[in-house]
Amino acid sequence: MARYSPTVIDHFTNPRNCGRLADPDVTVFVGNPVCGDQILLTARVRDDCVTEAGFEAYGCSASLAVASILTEHLSGMPMPVIADVDEAQVLAWAGGLGPDQRHAATLGADVAHRLAENHRAGTSDGDAIGCDG
């Protein structure tokens, strides 16, 4: 099996919806304190459905690709469905991830859950990402 799936290679090389949305309805930040991978996702929501999403991500290639993949799959999805997105779902969207890349699927599922939680609670995460690069 190739180290990276064609989907991961595609999204890493040609990231979709990169950047933050202006005036988003929900902002989500999830980071892994040990490895340092971080995803910040901004979304616009209408009638309990994500209509548009944008991301900023830092970390390994799999995490960057998963962030891009999430923005495509979550767009158009109702919040109750987003709340149920799990690691297996993200893995399937990514076309599979190697054992050392699985943390990216966990991170992706965490982002989806937090998006649903933040929307339900009417809150947004603070701006945790800031790159000096």
Partner: protein, 383 residues
């Protein structure tokens, strides 16, 4: 001497006469430059923007004209643009997280991993001459932090040893466990200590405070990487460290060796017995004017450290780091030629960033949590 010969005979490559070193290094770097210029659209555009074309870089006098990538680019979300190799060819991702929290990720293809591993292994053989003994690794294992550059570099040492043990588990360190392990090896194997300076300093402080006598073996070495600045901003004094190591562990200063490198580069500068850090023969360290990185400073002058690395095929290994220091091109008493590099400090405004700093910060935060738990426990309440 070409790159393959340098990697195969690092000892010889590090000791060639100075004119041959310059010639070999220039040829290797020129070949690497032309490879990336031909195969990396982003780098080609960067070169064009700087007015550099194929054929503009000739002899060693032109090396400073090779366009550099700022290491900050490795933190950017769109770091894929730097790659000469496609993601499908990337075998290994190595990361370092500094105090800012954004990871710097470098991606290496199979050729680069092979070359870097062989280069580091060869460097260890030439500088340390280790082929047996036991290593007490005062850092997490690669199993715990598989992508952390510092432990990956340390881990290559284990293949030369008869036994080894990692003593930082889940970001906690118990000096009693380290002491027990050293005692178990006593009289059976030469004991070496490997790790970032701050954890070894902690272990020595423990020995001193507990008044525990410990003398390692005549050929024991202390091998370090990770820098001398702590996350608090305070620096560990090298002189004090060496004096303590001699007094508390019985290791003479000539056998205490520090190394300097960064995860974005395949350059690992290893200290010889005279405590000069030798730049590998496939790398050139160019010191740049802090205010104008296009200007190369003469050996001995302090400035921004740029590293030109001929081994990298996954991305152009021509990097402008956030470190400040100087190079020395005078002959070293150890007999090695080429350059030696001295790190002074981080560039003004750059975050304090390396694997060791992250481990230390995390170790300390765990300690705070442990102290709080203890203070809040029923036993503590009854004191």
């Amino acid at each position: 001497m070409d790159v393959v010969s340098m990697l195969g005979m690092p000892g010889a490559a590090l000791r060639v006469p100075r004119p041959q070193w310059r010639q070999s290094l220039s040829a290797a770097l020129l070949e690497a430059f032309e490879f990336h210029l031909a195969n990396n659209g982003f780098y080609r555009a960067l070169c064009e923007a700087e007015g550099i074309r194929a054929g503009d870089i000739g002899g060693d006098g032109d090396l400073h004209r090779i366009p550099l990538l700022p290491v900050g680019m490795f933190k950017q979300a769109n770091a894929h643009v730097m790659l000469t190799a496609g993601l499908a060819d990337i075998e290994l991702e190595i990361r370092s997280t500094g105090t800012g929290g954004i990871p710097s990720v470098s991606r290496r293809d199979a050729t680069t991993v092979t070359r870097a591993s062989v280069g580091i292994f060869g460097g260890y053989r030439d500088f340390f001459g280790i082929s047996k003994g036991a290593g007490l690794f005062l850092c997490p294992s690669t199993a715990e932090v598989p992508e952390m550059g510092m432990v990956k570099v340390f881990n290559l040492l284990t293949g030369m040893l008869d036994d080894h043990r990692y003593l930082v588990h889940e970001f906690s360190f118990d000096p009693n466990e380290a002491l027990d392990q050293l005692r178990r090896w006593e009289g059976r194997m030469t004991r070496h200590i490997v790790g970032p300076p701050f954890i070894i300093a902690r272990f020595m402080r423990f020995l001193e405070l507990e008044e525990i006598p410990l003398q390692l073996d005549p050929e024991s070495m202390i091998i370090m990487l990770g820098g001398w600045k702590q996350y608090t901003g305070r620096s560990i004094s090298r002189e004090e460290f060496d004096a303590n190591a001699e007094r508390l562990l019985g290791v003479e200063p000539a056998r205490i060796r520090d190394m300097y490198g960064m995860i974005e580069s395949n350059m690992l500068a290893i200290e010889c017995e005279h405590h000069r850090k030798h730049v590998p023969p496939w790398c050139y360290v160019s010191i740049r004017d802090i205010t104008d990185p296009a200007v190369e400073l003469a050996p001995g002058r302090t400035g921004g450290i740029a590293i030109l690395d001929a081994l990298n095929t996954s991305y152009p290994g021509f990097l402008l780091s956030d470190d400040v220091g100087e190079v020395d091109e005078s002959d070293c008493p150890c007999g090695r030629t080429g350059q030696t590099v001295r790190f002074r400090r981080r560039r003004q405004g750059a975050e304090l960033g390396c694997c060791a700093v992250s481990i230390e910060k995390y170790l300390d935060s765990q300690q705070v949590v442990a102290d709080c738990d203890l203070a809040g426990s029923p036993a503590a309440a009854g004191r």
